[in-house]
C-alpha cells in the first residue's frame, strides 16, 4: 500500500530525512519510534505533503501512485490521513461543519454528489458513539478550548468519519492521561480492518500496549536503523536508544 523508498527531505536547506525505506501492507500496523529530533514528525509531514519540506531524493508511492506531484488535499482524497500532534484551532467553525466540509470536498474530488444531510448526521452519530463522544462536543468550535484529550479524540473522530486507507498517528499519546489514551486506542482498534493500515509515531512504548504493532522501526538521525516485531518496543523501553547509535 505505502512504499517509501530512499526518502531524503530538507527543511530550510537542512537535511532531516537521510534515506528512509518503509513498506506498509494493507491490514498492518507499523510503529516508528525514536528519540527527539530523529525525524519522526518530519516523516509524517512529508508523507502528508506539507509544503515547507523539500523532497530531494527518493519517492513515496501509495498503491503504486507516486505522490510527489500531489497537493496535500489530493493525498487526503486518496486516503492518507494524518492525526496531528498539535491540532489547530479554527474559531467559529464547528466540529460538525468542519467534518461535513472535509467529507464533501473528498466526495467532490471523486466525482460524487454531496452526502445527503440525513446520511451525514447518521454517520456522525454512529462514529461519535463509537468513540464515546458527547453530542454537545460536535457543536463546539474546532479545537478551540479543547483539552489535550479532546483534541486527540477529535482527530480520531475525523479519522473514523473519513475512513482513510492509511492513518498516520503522530504522537497521538502525548498529553493524554491513561483513560483518554485507552479511549483513543480503542477507537483506532475498532476502525482497523484488512483493507487499511496504521502508522503509529511515538516516543514511548505505552501507546503500543493498546495499539499493538506488527512491526516496530527505530528512526535515528533521519534513517531507520532497526526494525523488528512488537518486542522491539519493549526492548527500547528497557534499554533506551543509545545502544542503537
Amino acid at each position: 500500500m505505502l512504499k517509501v523508498n530512499n526518502l531524503h527531505a530538507n527543511i530550510d536547506e537542512k537535511e532531516i530525512l537521510k534515506g528512509v525505506n518503509l513498506e506498509i501492507k494493507p491490514g498492518e500496523v507499523h510503529a516508528i519510534m525514536g528519540p527527539n529530533g530523529s525525524g519522526k514528525s518530519t516523516l509524517s509531514s512529508v508523507i502528508a505533503g506539507k509544503e515547507e519540506y523539500e523532497v530531494t531524493e527518493g519517492s513515496i508511492h501509495l498503491d503504486d501512485e507516486d505522490l510527489d506531484d500531489l497537493a496535500p488535499e489530493e493525498r487526503a482524497h486518496r486516503g492518507i490521513f494524518l492525526s496531528f500532534q498539535y491540532p489547530v484551532e479554527i474559531p467559529g467553525v464547528t466540529v460538525t461543519n468542519f467534518i461535513k466540509t472535509a467529507i464533501n470536498e473528498s466526495r467532490k474530488a471523486k466525482g460524487l454528489e454531496e452526502l445527503p444531510a440525513k446520511d451525514m448526521l447518521k454517520m456522525i452519530r454512529e462514529k461519535a458513539d463509537l468513540l464515546e463522544i458527547d453530542r454537545k462536543f460536535l457543536s463546539r468550535s474546532l479545537n478551540e478550548g479543547f483539552s489535550g484529550g479532546e483534541k486527540k479524540r477529535n482527530e480520531i473522530f475525523q479519522m473514523a468519519m473519513l475512513e482513510p486507507k492509511l492513518a498516520i498517528l503522530d504522537e497521538t499519546d502525548s498529553g493524554l492521561d491513561i483513560d483518554a489514551l485507552k479511549v483513543v486506542a480503542n477507537g483506532v482498534n475498532k476502525l482497523k480492518s484488512e483493507d487499511n493500515a496504521v502508522l503509529v509515531i511515538t516516543h514511548y512504548q505505552r501507546l503500543l500496549d493498546y495499539i499493538v504493532p506488527d512491526y516496530v522501526h527505530v528512526l535515528y538521525d533521519g534513517k531507520i536503523v532497526k526494525s523488528g516485531g512488537k518486542e522491539l518496543a519493549l526492548e527500547l523501553e528497557a534499554k533506551g536508544y543509545d545502544w542503537l547509535k
Binding site: 488535499e73 489547530v88 467559529g92 472535509a102 470536498e105
Partner: protein, 482 residues
C-alpha cells in the same frame, strides 16, 4: 510536490477579478459636469420639488462650500475634483411603470446578471424591492401589501411630493447638513434614495430591501435614505449594492437617517460590494457614507454591515441613544483586498439612562490593503448606568496588509460600564495545511476560516441576506482557482 506558500496565496487573492464588472448600456439623462447653485436648483427642478426642498438644498450647498474635505481617516487617495463630476444621472424613462413588463429589457438583464431577478424575489423571498439604478428608482414592488398596513416605502423623491410633512419633519434631524463635508454635499445634490415610514404599533411583515447600483461612468451617486419607525413599530431594512467595473474613480456619498421613536425597533442590514478597483489599485468606488440613527425611549437600532467593496471606505453607522433604556448595536464585517482601504466603525452616543450598546467588528485584510476600525463610545454626563461592550477582531492574510484599531472612549458619568476586547490573528500555513490534510483545498479552507471568523456577525443578518453575504466574502477573498 506542489508548493503553496504565502506568496502563492497572495497572488491568488490578487488575481480575483470583480465578478460584476459589466456595464449596462442604458440611455442616460445626464447633467454636464460641475457644481454651482444653478445645478442644485436644476436637480431640484428635475424632481419637481417644492420650494422648501430647493431652499433646504441651497442652504446645504452654502454650508458645503465653506467646508473642507476631512483628512483624519487612515486612508490615502487622490481627492476627487468636485467640479469634474456630473451630479445627476437617470435612466431615461417616459412614464411611471406599473409592471415589470414595462421596464427596459436591458435593465432586467442587469438584474439577472446580479442574480436579483425581481420576479424571483417577489415569488420566493417575500422581499419587497425598491430598486435604485443610477439614482432614480425604477421599480417598486409589494407596494400593495405594505399599503394595507399603512407602511410607506417609496423613493424619497416621491415621498417629498406625497408625504412632505413627514420628510420635512425628519430630514436632516439626525444627520444635519452641517454634520460633515460629504453629508453637506449629499444634502445639496442627493438624487434619490428610499423613504420608509412604519406607523404606530405596526410590525412590518417583510424585509424591506433596496438594491443600489452605480451605472453611469463619471457620475457620483448621492443617495438619501430616511427610515422612520413610529412608536412600538418594527422594521427590518436591507440594503445591498454592486457596481460595474470602471477605470475612473466613482464617488459615492450617501446619507442614511434612522428615527426610532418610543418602543420601536429598526434593524438595518447592508451588504456593500461597490467596485473595489483592480489588482493594481486603480479605479474603484470612493464610499463616503454618513449613517446615523436616533433612539427614543426603549427604542432599539441595530446596524449590521458586510463591507467587501469600494477602493476607499469611510463609514461609521452610529446610534444616538437619546431615550432611557434605548439600545444600539453595531455588527460589522469589513473585508479589504489588493489596495483597498477601509476606515470604518461606529459611534455610540449614550445620552439616556440605562442605555446599552454592543459593538462587534470583524476586519479581514488581504493583499496590500489597509483595514481600520474607528469607534467612539461616548457616555453623557447625565446618562446613568450606561453599558457598552465592544469587541474588535482582525484577521490578516499574508504579511503586506494592515489592520488598525482606533477605539475612543469618552465617559462623563461614573456609573458607566465599558468593556473593550480586541484580537488580531492571522490565517496561518498551519491552519491551511490542517484543512488541506482533511481534503479541503486552500480556497475552500480560506472561505471556511473566514466564515468562522465572521460568524457572530453573519448570524445577525436575515437568512436570505446571510447566504448572499457569505458568497460575497468568498468572491472577495478567494483566488480564481476552480
Amino acid at each position: 510536490m506542489s508548493k503553496f506558500t504565502e506568496d502563492d496565496l497572495k497572488k491568488e487573492l490578487e488575481t480575483k477579478e470583480y465578478e460584476y464588472g459589466f456595464y449596462t448600456d442604458i440611455e442616460s439623462d445626464k447633467f454636464p459636469i460641475g457644481l454651482n447653485e444653478e445645478v442644485v436648483i436644476a436637480i431640484s427642478k428635475k424632481k419637481n420639488e417644492p420650494e422648501w426642498m430647493t431652499e433646504w438644498r441651497l442652504e446645504a450647498f452654502k454650508i458645503w462650500k465653506e467646508m473642507e474635505e476631512p483628512d483624519w481617516a487612515n486612508v490615502t487617495y487622490e481627492k476627487p475634483d468636485f467640479q469634474a463630476i456630473s451630479y445627476y444621472s437617470a435612466p431615461k424613462q417616459k412614464k411611471q411603470l406599473d409592471s415589470l413588463d414595462e421596464v427596459d429589457p436591458e435593465l432586467l438583464k442587469t438584474f439577472e446578471k446580479l442574480g436579483i431577478s425581481i420576479d424571483e424575489q417577489k415569488r420566493l423571498t417575500n422581499v419587497a424591492v425598491d430598486v435604485v439604478i443610477d439614482s432614480v428608482s425604477v421599480a417598486t414592488t409589494f407596494k400593495k401589501t405594505l399599503n394595507e398596513k399603512g407602511i410607506i416605502f417609496m423613493p424619497i423623491s416621491e415621498a417629498i411630493q406625497e408625504h412632505p410633512e413627514l420628510v420635512k419633519k425628519y430630514i436632516g434631524t439626525v444627520v444635519p447638513r452641517t454634520d460633515n463635508f460629504y453629508a453637506a454635499l449629499n444634502s445639496a445634490v442627493f438624487s434619490d434614495g428610499s423613504f420608509c415610514y412604519i406607523p404606530k404599533g405596526v410590525t412590518c411583515p417583510m424585509e424591506l430591501s433596496t438594491y443600489f447600483r452605480i451605472n453611469e461612468g463619471g457620475t457620483g451617486q448621492f443617495e438619501r435614505t430616511l427610515v422612520i419607525a413610529d412608536e412600538s413599530s418594527y422594521v427590518s431594512y436591507l440594503e445591498g449594492c454592486t457596481a460595474p467595473a470602471r477605470d475612473e474613480n466613482q464617488l459615492h456619498a450617501a446619507v442614511v437617517e434612522l428615527i426610532a421613536l418610543d418602543d420601536s425597533e429598526i434593524k438595518y442590514s447592508t451588504v456593500q460590494n461597490w467596485f473595489p478597483g483592480n489588482a493594481e489599485g486603480s479605479g474603484g468606488v470612493y464610499n463616503f457614507v454618513t449613517k446615523r440613527g436616533i433612539c427614543e425611549t426603549n427604542a432599539k437600532i441595530s446596524w449590521t454591515q458586510v463591507e467587501t467593496g469600494s477602493a476607499v471606505t469611510w463609514k461609521y453607522p452610529s446610534c444616538i441613544l437619546k431615550g432611557d433604556n434605548s439600545i444600539g448595536e453595531f455588527y460589522s464585517i469589513a473585508v479589504t483586498n489588493n489596495y483597498q482601504q477601509a476606515d470604518t466603525g461606529t459611534k455610540m452616543i449614550h445620552l439616556g439612562n440605562n442605555t446599552k450598546s454592543t459593538i462587534i467588528s470583524k476586519g479581514i485584510s488581504a493583499g496590500k490593503s489597509q483595514n481600520s476600525y474607528r469607534g467612539l463610545v461616548q457616555i453623557g454626563s447625565r446618562a446613568k448606568n450606561a453599558r457598552n461592550f465592544s469587541q474588535c477582531d482582525s484577521l490578516l492574510m499574508g504579511n503586506q496588509c494592515g489592520a488598525h484599531t482606533f477605539p475612543y472612549i469618552e465617559a462623563k458619568n461614573k456609573t458607566a460600564q465599558i468593556e473593550h476586547e480586541a484580537t488580531t490573528s492571522k490565517i496561518g500555513e498551519d491552519q491551511l495545511f490542517y484543512c488541506n490534510q482533511r481534503g479541503i483545498d486552500t480556497e475552500k479552507a480560506i472561505a471556511l476560516i473566514v466564515n468562522g471568523f465572521s460568524k457572530e456577525v453573519l448570524n445577525k443578518l436575515p437568512m436570505e441576506f446571510a447566504v448572499e453575504a457569505q458568497k460575497l466574502l468568498e468572491i472577495s477573498l478567494e483566488g480564481s482557482v476552480g
